[in-house]
Amino acid sequence: MNLLASKLFGQLGFEGFALGAWETIYLTLLSTLIAYVIGLPLGVLLVVTDKDGLKPIVWLNKIVGILVNIFRSIPFIILIVALIPVSRAIVGTSIGNEAMIFMLIVAAAPYIARMVESSLKEVDRGVVEAARSMGASNLQIVWKVLLPEAKPSLIVGAVISTVTVLGYSAMAGTIAAGGLGSVAVTQARPSNAQDVIWLCVALIVIIVQIIQELGMFIARRTDKRIQRRKRKTTEADRPQA
């Protein structure tokens, strides 16, 4: 058993991979989750203050839009380097998992804001208009119409965002944080341990697959728009007796 394990997992051992996988999952999910706490309201803000939005505030929309674009256009590896002093000031350290989570949040929040924005913009304007005609306030429209109606799309967006963050997390090695990316880049790469690298790749693929399939499954289950009609229109439309 031990022999098999050492053959399979090389010099790192089973524990090394398990730790790496766990750290990848933990970095990804925790960062994405916190990034949503920032990105979701930002996305809502972008939609609401849009010139066709519920409460157009053009200057605010422009400023937030530009900030989001700036952060989205910086390549993550450069963002990491740039954020080192910021991280030291805010998190108290510029290395390790905590610092990495901070940087992932900074990178992911603007991305998520755009994902949320595009999901919310998919909501039929007519539905929003109907809610307005019933005397719904803007806050009620956001909570009771936009977010619930966009839920399946928001979940799909969350899956894509999570996978993107997982990709970013592979650069954790740069600042001595953990995860499979770090295992592959900082531990296996110098000794050219091809088997370890490929095993990391395989594990990442499996994790992405699980996130993807699970997320899409939930999105499908949530969406009530799926046609499950049994009767034909003409039959159902006959005037009621």
């Binding site: 109907a130 005609s133 619930p148 839920k151 009530k224």
Partner: protein, 329 residues
Amino acid sequence: MIELVHLQKVYPSAAGEVRALEDIDLKIEDGTVFGIIGLSGAGKSTLVRCINLLEKPTSGQVLLDGEDLTAVKKKRLLELRRSIGMIFQSFNLFEQRTVEANVRFPLELVHTKRAEAKERALELLELVGLKEKAGAYPSQLSGGQKQRVAIARALALSPKYLLCDEATSALDPQTTESILALLKDINKQLGVTIIVITHEMKVVESICTDVAVIDKSRIVESGKVADVFAFPKSEIAKELIIPGLIRSVKSTGGKKLRLVFHGEEADTPVISGLALRLGISVNILYADTKIIDGGTYGHMVITLPEEEEKAELVKRHLTEQCVTFKEEL
């Protein structure tokens, strides 16, 4: 009562201003079914949205029982909107909510207790004949059923008014009929004043008591449906009410009479009376009449005999029969 006073709506656009509504004055009395008819692009959708201020008029007033909606505070506006229900051409149901939760939505907005709201929702669904669909989702319903749910939802807060924006335009004729019957019921039984926006004369004919004709951003005529129907003044009203008439009148020479039936002459056969009593036979160039509640409604165009005398006889006969007519050239 809803009163629109000097209502004006101007949209800025790249090519200059677009005047969607020009100097609209309308009075909509309580208890009526008020039709606003016009071709697409005439401004009728903008007009109806100005009534509940989904569109803010550029100038003018919208008086809801004397209260000017354009002048009230935001909070009061939201309250007032609750007394005006609205239904749409595309139904606009919440796709992720069940039918019952759709109807319950307006009640949630005013924080009605859940059990109470649910009871009210089911009551309304019963009214529109869809109680058994309470747990279904909109995507499982047909167009007609969706509009019924939308009607139930619009009635949830017991509004005094109901705005219908082309509510039957996306439905087939049969379904349209059943939805119109439902609206008529709602007007009669619940006393809800209904404002109907449409481009179809048959919608106005079948449920409206009053009508306003809108063309190129202006109200060109308005009045009781029977009056406007009998004597359309504007070209556009004629075109909407009797589309075949103008063509048939223009295509033949000679003197013609347009007979208007508005309900009374059902049991006296006018044309055959002409032939039997006077021995004068006339050509019918156009006829579009129907019997509603025992009375005949509609228009007919006949040729007048060449001879003055005979023509006079025809007219006298018609006057005796109390038929309204007008000479058309």
